[in-house]
């Protein structure tokens, strides 16, 4: 009985993790500019990896290895926002203007614009 509940929980965690990873991938394709893509590329992914790791920890049970997955999660939580920030900051230094609702420029236009400004 307990084993069944655990298996269901593990599968549930992995599925939720997969869902958020999928959303993250969809966001990278659908969102309009580099800033909004940086949001989803690293953040939705954090939760995707988080749920997947929670599933792994549960599958391993109460062993030292599952502590290591918690540590992994901790490192993802520190490094992922750092990467997102680095991308956004680099874009800002290139002079790329963020996309807003009232324009219909594409990524290529935004980059082009930043290059001709200089």
């Amino acid at each position: 009985m307990i084993e069944t509940v655990r298996t269901v929980a593990i599968v549930g965690f992995i599925l939720v993790g997969l869902f958020f990873t999928l959303v993250s991938a969809a966001g990278v394709i659908r969102l309009p500019d580099v800033y909004s893509r940086a949001h989803t590329a690293s953040q939705a992914d954090t939760l995707g990896a988080g749920f997947a790791l929670a599933g792994v920890a549960l599958a391993l049970g109460f062993t030292t290895t599952s502590f290591k997955t918690v540590l992994l999660l901790f490192f993802i939580f520190i490094t992922n926002p750092t990467a997102a920030h680095a991308i956004a900051r680099a874009a800002d230094e290139e002079g790329i203007k963020p996309w807003t609702t009232d324009d219909d420029r594409t990524d290529a236009d935004l980059y082009e614009e930043a290059m001709t400004d200089e």
Partner: protein, 358 residues
């Protein structure tokens, strides 16, 4: 202006004497000169050690002026010495902040040359002379150089002062980490190898890890962190669902805007924690930190409202300063949050707090 002006940023350094001598000699060869000695205040001055530090800064500047006057006697041209202290009213966070403060002072006083001591340390954690010189080259109107030191200095980048409590703290952390990685923490072999590796790590890395001693507040902060982490997790999951719904919505109802907030958070560690938490929460992304001002890209209105309501900011204040500090009003009520169109735009609370305008 007939005389040439030289600006020298000073810090407590063993080569100050040689630097002053070099500057006075090179400046007076070309006629009368004005020497401006400045001290740039590092961040994180606690209220209680302000007077002691102020005294030390006064002494440093006074000593340097006396040296300069002594050295100028062997030249015919006259030397005027003036001193100044910068950055007392600001929070200088990175080499670029310090470079901007120095550059602004240099431009205001019509300075031609900025000369650094080879061991200049602005006190922001580690000696950062190279990045500082690089940042200063972005400004026009003066030249930047490094004074040659009399004796061959051994360059020791990234090494700050260390102390026993710092070494002890690193030892405890690395020992605990080793035991987590070890298969069986009760086995004597793991304990012995753990002690040896933790000792090597503590001694080897103590100079690059912490810049301040742990205080009695540190354990309290750690305890408050354990309350903060579940709170942050809840926030992350909540806004993740929100953003996921927006991304999967067929019409993609996003309204991205760049915003700027000035959170009531001081110090590099609380600021880093806040910026990291903001980025970790989907819908908000920290693009830039200038002093206390955060430039944040927001994806949806709901995330923007959350940012302006300052919930995370309040939680960070709770972690680092205790429950009383959590009561400060939201950035929106303080008038320290705004929407911007371009990151070059000056902020409405600008005053003298850095920024691209001038």
């Amino acid at each position: 202006m007939s005389d040439n002006r030289v600006l020298v940023p000073l810090s407590a350094s063993s080569t100050n004497r040689q630097t002053i001598e070099y500057v006075v000699r090179t400046a007076l060869e070309g006629g009368p000169a004005t020497l401006r000695l400045v001290y740039v205040h590092p961040p994180e001055i606690q209220a209680d050690d302000q007077t002691a530090r102020g005294q030390a800064v006064d002494d440093l500047l006074k000593r340097a002026s006396v040296w300069a006057e002594e050295d100028s006697k062997q030249f015919e041209a006259t030397l005027t010495v003036e001193t100044a202290q910068l950055g007392m009213d600001k929070y200088l966070f990175s080499p670029s902040d310090i470079a901007e403060t120095i550059a602004r002072d240099a431009i205001e006083t019509d300075t031609d040359r900025v000369v650094f001591d080879p061991r200049y340390d602005p006190g922001i954690g580690a000696p950062l002379l190279r990045p500082l010189e690089y940042e200063l080259t972005r400004f026009d109107g003066f030249t930047v150089e490094e004074a040659p030191s009399g004796r061959q200095t051994r360059r020791t980048p990234f090494l700050a002062r260390t102390s026993l409590p710092q070494i002890g703290a690193i030892f405890v952390i690395s020992f605990a980490f080793y035991q987590i990685l070890a298969a069986d923490p009760t086995y004597w072999f793991e304990i012995v190898t753990g002690v040896v590796s933790a000792a090597i790590v503590a001694i080897g890395l103590s100079q690059v890890t912490f810049t301040r001693n742990p205080t009695w507040q540190t354990p309290a902060r750690l305890v408050r962190h354990t309350i903060y982490i579940p709170y942050l997790l809840k926030e992350i999951i909540k806004s993740n669902i929100l953003v996921a719904a927006v991304i999967l919505h067929p019409k993609l109802p996003i309204e991205p805007r760049m915003t700027r907030v000035r959170p009531a958070v001081w110090g590099s560690l609380p600021m880093t924690a806040l910026a990291n938490s903001i980025t970790l929460t989907p819908g908000t992304l920290t693009v830039r930190i200038d002093g206390r001002t955060l430039t944040v890209h927001t994806l949806v209105p709901a995330a923007r409202e959350g940012l302006f309501a300052g919930d995370l900011e309040r939680a960070i204040r709770f972690v680092f300063y205790g429950r009383d500090a959590a009561k400060i009003t939201s950035p929106e009520d303080r008038g320290e949050a705004e929407l911007i169109d371009s990151t070059d735009e000056p902020s409405s609370w600008e005053g003298d707090d850095g920024g691209a305008d001038k």
